[in-house]
């Protein structure tokens, strides 16, 4: 039923694509129906489809509730703060793909469904007008799932057919599946595509692209791995790779000066924990699988909340660059609360599900105490980076005006989209400047073109100050006098709405981390394969 609703919703979204005024409410309705269908999903159910079987498990139910709620919130955010016509179809198709990927007992079919969802997610990142960087990103977003599928699907059949050295066959298969997981999980060094996506693609599409679909793929990989025997060598390699990933991503996260890239590097680190699940020996595979089943939906929901936070920052008139984020928490305290809630939902505290799941993942494959300490220390760095973001938000100051911020974009500005700020993220910041005194300089033209002598002197003075303070962009620099005068503006309705929705999305992983929904019990229960095997 859920698959039928999501599939039908995606089909309708494609048909209504030329009519945005109909598409938005239709997509809202479809996503709401998906959420309802997920809530009403029976705890254990199975259905035969031709010669195959689909299984509904408690774990699948929690996945679908989290994903549906997450996508509904992101759709509302995109509706309030901008629009992207491919997104509803991609989200609804992605929901169907997640349900099928986790509900089929066969790993190859599950990975294929997850890959299909990845292609739909890539579709939502190609927006008009397309720039060269966007086209290149689109090509990369198609290459990576295809390569991962080509690695994983044959590998799942390899152990059964390798004659003679069974351990060699298993080692090769695990290595191939690990390679596929690295590709899909944006694990370093392949996180560069995620970095490019964060600076080029619409922000509302990024949770589907970088969190939910990769998480479904990784779950399929881990479920398959848990059924194999132990091998030496490749496990040590995976543990080393996991450690390197976590440390590298933690350092990268800590050094970031952009909130969007902060999310990207924290995603890379969190996905790296899956490598430990793939490396777990046979005797610990049960606990490792359970920990991965807890960790992956929390990871996806938390990253979606993180991207919702970035949308909130962008809609509040700030860019996501930390240099421009002074005082954001004072202006929108709901967003600050969302950040705190998100930290607990993502990283957890001792005794909460996220913390315990990450510890169990590492402990299952690494008994060395030094390694655990290294992972623990590396896990703290992203938390410190997020707290630094919060501290910047609590400082007194004003973010630059919307026109300036839309140009400054996130990270290193992509020069090909700089002239078209809407292309950057689909957000239309349709507001006029509220501090007319600072508009002695025209914001939307390069300084010095068609200006009076007085405005040119004002621009030159502001630029000199800006150079001294290393502020970005001529328009942001020109806004400096108003900022120094301490003139603020209260949040608009749009900002409040995005802050509320971002807070609600952050509460999703938080609630699950506290035990709502009993994810722990669901993770310990049967998976799709076990459920089908129990059928008479």
């Amino acid at each position: 039923m859920f698959v039928a609703i999501a599939g039908a919703g995606a089909f309708v979204a494609v048909l209504l694509r030329p009519r945005p005024e109909l598409l938005r409410p239709a997509a809202s309705l479809a996503l709401g129906c998906c959420l309802l269908a997920a809530v009403l999903l029976p705890p254990e159910t199975s259905r035969q489809v031709g010669s195959g079987w689909l299984a509904g498990t408690p774990l699948l139910r929690i996945w679908l509730i989290l994903a549906s709620a997450s996508f509904l919130g992101l759709h509302l955010l995109a509706t309030a703060a901008g629009w992207q016509r491919n997104l509803p179809a991609a989200m609804l198709g992605g929901l169907a793909a997640i349900a099928l990927a986790i509900g089929v007992p066969d790993a190859a079919a599950g990975a294929t469904f997850a890959t299909a969802g990845g292609f739909l997610a890539a579709l939502s990142c190609l927006v008009l007008p397309l720039q060269v960087a966007g086209a290149r990103l689109g090509a990369d977003l198609l290459r990576i799932p295809a390569l991962a599928l080509l690695l994983l699907v044959p590998a799942t059949a390899l152990p059964a057919v390798v004659a003679g050295d069974v351990e060699l066959g298993i080692s090769i298969a695990i290595a191939a599946v690990a390679g596929a997981s690295i590709l899909r999980g944006s694990i370093p060094p392949l996180h560069r595509v995620a970095v490019t996506a964060a600076t080029t693609a619409p922000v509302a599409a990024l949770p589907l692209l970088l969190a939910w679909m990769p998480a479904a793929f990784l779950l399929v990989a881990v479920e398959w791995r848990s059924g194999l025997g132990s091998t030496a060598g490749v496990e040590l390699l995976l543990v080393g790779l996991g450690l390197a990933t976590i440390v590298y991503a933690a350092i990268g996260c800590f050094l970031q000066r952009d909130a969007a890239l902060l999310i990207v590097y924290s995603t890379a680190q969190d996905a790296g924990f899956v490598l430990f699940a793939l490396a777990a020996p046979a005797e610990a595979s049960g606990s490792s699988l359970e920990a991965a089943r807890i960790w992956l939906p929390l990871f996806a929901a938390a990253k979606a909340g993180g991207w919702a936070l970035v949308i909130g920052l962008l809609a509040a008139g700030s860019s996501s660059r930390m240099d421009d984020l002074q005082g954001w928490a004072r202006r929108t305290p709901l967003l600050a609360l969302a950040l705190l809630v998100l930290l607990i939902g993502n990283y957890g505290l001792p005794g909460l599900l996220p913390f315990e799941a990450r510890r169990d993942l590492v402990a299952a494959s690494m008994s060395d105490g030094v390694g655990l300490v290294v992972v623990g220390a590396a896990s703290i760095l992203p938390v410190l980076a997020f707290l630094r973001l919060l501290l910047i938000g609590l400082r007194a100051g004003e973010p630059p005006r919307p026109e300036a911020d839309a140009r400054s974009g996130t990270g290193k500005a992509n020069p090909e989209v700089e002239d078209d700020p809407v292309t950057r993220d689909g957000l239309r910041v349709e507001r006029t400047p509220e501090t007319p005194d600072a508009a002695g300089v025209e914001q939307d033209q390069p300084p010095g073109i068609g200006r009076t002598m007085r405005s040119r002197l004002a621009t030159a003075r502001a630029q000199a100050i800006g150079l001294a303070l290393s502020l970005p962009g001529p328009a942001a620099v020109a806004a400096l006098p108003a900022r120094l005068a301490g003139r603020g503006r209260s949040p608009s309705g749009q900002e409040r709405l995005t802050a509320v929705v971002a807070l609600l999305l952050a509460l999703l992983p938080f609630a699950v981390a506290l035990g709502v929904g009993d994810l722990g019990a669901a993770a310990a229960g049967p998976g799709a394969r076990e459920l089908i095997e129990r059928l008479p």
Partner: protein
């Protein structure tokens, strides 16, 4: 039954080679269509009739979507890496390796499926890693999906109906994304000459 498998395997191998050899976008689409339509019958036992129908319809739809996206592409395409003839020779070698590695008998023509899978996989990897134009990269994506299914079929037997549906859905989703990439690129009037994998990444961080 084996005759159909032979026909399907030969079609997949030749179609994969044709994708690499073609300099015309229409020829690439036709070759892709041949591969997509014939791949379900390149494995024994054949899928059920509904699953087979589903795969064929999905293949035709995918070919149409790709054609829709690239109909305005300039005719003369660039070779991916070593030149079309050399790359097609690699595809032929991969097919030969599959025939040697897999059993070949009337009852178990697995070698044919393995040959088709390795051939399409070789073409896919070549296009994915070295394709310089969206239609080349997109062709690689579709060939990769076909190859994954064929290799799995050769190693562990063909997929059940849900597995076939998964491949069909993946093919359509990929073709939609590939066609959209071509369409948006054409609208933007961009000459999309993308360099090899990993070398054209921009961005911060």
């Amino acid at each position: 039954m084996p005759a159909l498998v032979i026909f399907g395997a030969i079609g997949v191998v030749l179609g994969s080679a044709m994708v690499l050899l073609s300099r015309d976008s229409r020829a690439v689409v036709i070759a892709l269509g041949i591969v997509l339509v014939l791949s379900p019958v390149a494995a024994a036992p054949l899928p059920s009739i509904p699953a087979l129908g589903f795969r064929v319809v999905a293949a035709l739809l995918a070919a149409y979507l790709v054609q829709l996206g690239f109909r305005r592409v300039r005719r003369h395409l660039v070779d991916a890496w070593l030149g079309g003839a050399t790359e097609a020779a690699f595809v032929g070698l991969a097919a030969g390796a599959g025939l040697l590695l897999g059993p070949l008998s009337l009852e178990q023509p697995t070698g044919l499926t393995l040959a088709a899978g390795l051939a399409s996989g070789t073409a896919a990897v070549n296009l994915l890693l070295f394709g310089r134009e969206p239609i080349r990269t997109g062709s690689g994506v579709l060939l990769a999906i076909v190859s994954a299914g064929l290799l799995r079929g050769a190693l562990a037997g063909p997929a059940d109906d849900l597995g076939q549906a998964a491949v069909a859905a993946c093919v359509v989703a990929a073709a939609t994304a590939v066609g959209w990439l071509g369409l948006t690129g054409a609208r933007a009037g961009i000459e999309l000459d993308m360099t090899a994998f990993g070398r054209d990444i921009r961005g911060g961080g």
